[in-house]
Symmetry: C2
Subunit: 228 residues, 2 copies
Amino acid sequence: EIKCIDLCKTYVQGDATIKALDHVTLDIEQGSFICLSGPSGSGKTTLLNAIGGLDELDSGEISINDERVDLLSKGPLADLRLHHIGFVFQAYNLIEVLTARENVEFVMQVQGVSAKQRKLKSMAILKEVGLEGMENRRPAQLSGGQQQRVAVARAIVSQPKLVLADEPTANLDSVSAAHLMELFCELNQNHDVTFLIATHDERVMRYAERLIRMQDGKVISDELQINT
Amino acid sequence: EIKCIDLCKTYVQGDATIKALDHVTLDIEQGSFICLSGPSGSGKTTLLNAIGGLDELDSGEISINDERVDLLSKGPLADLRLHHIGFVFQAYNLIEVLTARENVEFVMQVQGVSAKQRKLKSMAILKEVGLEGMENRRPAQLSGGQQQRVAVARAIVSQPKLVLADEPTANLDSVSAAHLMELFCELNQNHDVTFLIATHDERVMRYAERLIRMQDGKVISDELQINT
Ligand SMILES: Nc1ncnc2c1ncn2[C@@H]1O[C@H](COP(=O)(O)OP(=O)(O)OP(=O)(O)O)[C@@H](O)[C@H]1O
Ligand SMILES: Nc1ncnc2c1ncn2[C@@H]1O[C@H](COP(=O)(O)OP(=O)(O)OP(=O)(O)O)[C@@H](O)[C@H]1O
Ligand SMILES: [Mg+2]
Ligand SMILES: [Mg+2]
């Protein structure tokens, strides 16, 4: 479903060369539930951004369902991201002037979903992530963990085929984090949504059927695991 | 050292009333090492902001060394924050156009520290938090966990008497988080710096000599614990 072949991305800073991605090759099947872990700075965000078409590579190929993502032009790429990929950003990237509900409905609006349907779905997902009653608040009126959950709700509300989540539980307590993982599992099991989750959180890693570890831009291990 | 007496802060949203702080009373001695935990939305950030003079209360008193913080006017309050309090923000609040080193030196510059001293201290603290070699990068050129560590470095570089840290390890892997906690402990043990750390991270809570739990704006437990 997702094929990454020999991905390389290097930054040049003064006279230093930083290999953010160093020959990364990966195969991900539809319906997988995968955690991506590794030290701060190991390349997790860079890999998610590359797969999500948000960042260009220096070399290598990325295919989603046999379509070369790295070769797509702006229009088709935006289309792919709009209809097939949900992205939870490490820094949330919420729109400050919109309410929580408007942030969640934003993508559906661009997709042409009716106002009635948008409202049903946004209210339902906000309730699922524990934000019932807060839909009319703007990000600045929400706690850090509440903002994070709005970012998650936005990414999954239209049930994309692929969810790329960058540290989605960083600011959540254990109960909220567990609820979120149950929600992800439900989408994965019942709707065949593929999850690739970058995380430092041990609680999250326990849900993964496969754990990919990175270090210094490389994949240093890639193992199946039995969920507890 | 820090006295909080019956702190109340309420937000009104439409016809809903949110008690962010609901009669919080606390005593914190100089040199304490305290963790503040609780569910997302329980009031941790609101409490830290109140103590740091960043947010006004509806009622209640806050004294730092017998000085009423909640009564200070803008000038003296800014002075207190500049010279005595280091704040690690949940969203880092780094200055995007400044480099990591410039962000760390910013406060010292306002304090009137010489350029030579600023450079010595900023380079040393950046090395301590594992960011050696990255001092000339701007926040956008750093990973999430690297940005978080710049925010920490900035807060502690001038060894303030009180450090208020809002989820300082949220985006860090276990090794980086442990290093940070060792650094905090060293400052606490050898320089008598008081730490009040809001966190969801079990790894962090293990270092606390006292654990304060919040829920719905209230302190629901406040216990000493033996560090492991
Ligand atoms: N401007 C605001 N208007 C309305 N409610 C607010 C506002 N700011 C904060 N709140 C609410 O106050 C409560 C406490 O927020 P606070 O940010 O202190 O929580 P927290 O414990 O830091 O949460 P987290 O762990 O998610 O960071 C939350 O329910 C939050 O939604
Ligand atoms: N614009 C840039 N210029 C230079 N180096 C960069 C730039 N952007 C990222 N990097 C570097 O690339 C490496 C990988 O970064 P990335 O954000 O992918 O790490 P990460 O695994 O997501 O880390 P974290 O867990 O802290 O979020 C890091 O060393 C980072 O400093
Ligand atoms: Mg990252
Ligand atoms: Mg908070």
